[in-house]
């Protein structure tokens, strides 16, 4: 095996090691953080999976109502 190849394997071991170490520590940190926050700083939870902000917030009924209104308006003023 060439020297380059053995360097590559070392790199792979170090690399995957760091990646797993990093993300494992992140898992632990998140668990700790979530526990702390849920106990000491609970706030109105937003549903997982909705973006933090930008919640369009527009009720679909409102959109329907407005679409209808504009439609009506445009027909009248054609």
């Amino acid at each position: 095996m060439t020297e380059q190849m053995s360097k590559g394997i070392e790199l792979m071991l170090a690399g995957m090691g760091i990646v797993f170490l990093f993300l494992t520590m992140l898992v632990l940190a998140i668990n700790m953080m979530s526990a702390l926050i849920q106990r000491f700083f609970p706030d109105a939870p937003s549903l997982a999976g909705t973006t933090a902000t930008r919640s369009s917030g527009i009720d679909e009924n409102i959109i329907a109502a407005i679409t209808a209104a504009v439609h009506q308006h445009r027909n009248k003023h054609k």
């Binding site: 060439t2 380059q4 190849m5 360097k7 590559g8 394997i9 790199l11 792979m12 170090a14 690399g15 995957m16 760091i18 990646v19 797993f20 170490l21 990093f22 993300l23 494992t24 520590m25 992140l26 898992v27 940190a29 998140i30 668990n31 953080m33 979530s34 926050i37 849920q38 700083f41 609970p42 706030d43 109105a44 939870p45 937003s46 549903l47 997982a48 999976g49 909705t50 973006t51 933090a52 902000t53 930008r54």
Partner: protein
């Protein structure tokens, strides 16, 4: 008469080289893939156009004094990929990942594709005519990270000559995720595993979403400073969005700024698709290794998920492991789709978003390792 000769000698027809013509065809092929096939058009359209523009004889658009020459500075200095990463951070919702943090490990496992193809690149050196240095191999491997800005950032630092081919491979395979991943996912899982339903996620509070990017940044500072340009800008974008106090900056980072930089970055990447750099046997190697990287990354993610499912008290559908390669949000959608085939009531999308965004972090970490160890 003299003028006419001068004119004729200044036509493209008179000055064309075969290599330039070929690279233009590559550019048009990329445009075709972007427009007709819908392959990552936001990047491949500007990249393809840049490839055409930079191979026009005489015009010198990619040479000193030309537009693409100036735009390339934004890549060379690392500015463009980092700004895009900031915008992506602002668009990313870590909610699903925070609700189920152990899925982060799937994003770790899938990075095996990076290092496997790095080794593959070194192994290919036995082929006569191929000579990949360790830097080249590392830059090629990062294709397996399945994340465009990370790949461009690493390639611009380690192997700028291969940048064009690497970026094209990365974005093309990302677009091909719906073709590459499903057979691997099906081969490695049983029908029963694919049917596994995962339990509904808990709600994640706004405070957790604000603290997370800071924690990510701190961890990266402590363990791997070489990854902090990437992870830092990603965390900045995410914090701008999650905090809710700088909404106008967050919106601009997600929209106009990332759009402007995407146009510039695409054109500049295209300017690296010159005949001398691209028409090498190395390019074939890069394309082959890129496919290998995606396949191995997918497989590693799925296998990791199977292992975790064995030891976890809540069920984990192994399909979501494939989303660990990143390729956000395509890979998560693929996991969802393959899952629906086996169980029409099984919506895995949100569960797959966790490993999906974890894959972005994972490949940024891997990039940091490569940047700090490969000299």
């Amino acid at each position: 008469m003299e003028n006419l000769t001068a004119l004729w000698q200044s036509t493209g027809l008179y000055n064309f080289t075969g290599g330039q013509a070929f690279m233009m065809l590559v550019g048009f092929l990329l445009l075709y893939l972007a427009i007709k096939k819908g392959f990552e058009p936001l990047l491949l359209l500007p990249i393809g156009f840049g490839a055409i523009l930079s191979n026009i004889p005489i015009a010198g658009i990619a040479e000193e004094g030309g537009l693409l020459y100036y735009l390339y500075f934004g890549i060379k200095a690392g500015i463009f990929p980092l700004l895009i990463f900031m915008g992506v951070g602002a668009m990313t919702d870590f909610g699903p990942m925070l609700a189920n943090p152990k899925t982060l490990l799937l994003g770790a496992a899938a990075q095996f594709g990076i290092f496997a193809s790095l080794l593959g690149a070194l192994a290919l050196n036995v082929v006569p005519g191929l000579e990949f240095s360790l830097k080249d191999a590392a830059a090629i491997g990062i294709i397996g990270g399945a994340d465009g800005p990370t790949a461009i950032y690493v390639a611009s630092k380690l192997a700028p000559d291969l940048l064009g081919a690497i970026a094209v491979a990365a974005y093309s395979y990302m677009a091909l995720v719906p073709l590459i991943q499903p057979p691997i996912m099906r081969a490695l899982t049983t029908e029963d595993e694919r049917k596994i339903e995962m339990k509904q996620m808990r709600a994640v509070s706004k405070t957790e979403k604000i603290v997370f990017p800071l924690m990510l940044l701190i961890l990266s500072i402590l363990l791997l400073p070489s990854a902090t340009p990437l992870i830092g800008m990603f965390a900045l974008g995410n914090l701008m969005n999650a905090s809710g106090v700088v909404e106008r900056l967050s919106q601009t980072a997600q929209n106009e700024l990332i759009n402007i930089v995407t146009i510039f970055l695409g054109l500049a990447v295209g300017s690296k698709l010159s005949a001398e750099a691209f028409l090498q046997i190395e390019t074939l190697g890069i394309l082959a290794l890129g496919a290998v990287a995606f396949a191995i990354g997918t497989a590693s993610g799925v296998i990791m998920a199977k292992i975790m499912n064995k030891f976890s008290d809540t069920p984990i559908n192994p399909l979501i492991g494939a989303a660990g390669v990143s390729a956000v949000p395509m890979a998560a959608r693929v996991a969802n789709k393959v899952g629906l085939e086996s169980n029409p009531h099984n919506f895995l999308l949100m569960h797959a978003m966790g490993p999906n965004v974890a894959g972005v972090i994972g490949s940024a970490v891997a990039a940091g390792v490569l940047l700090s160890l490969v000299k």
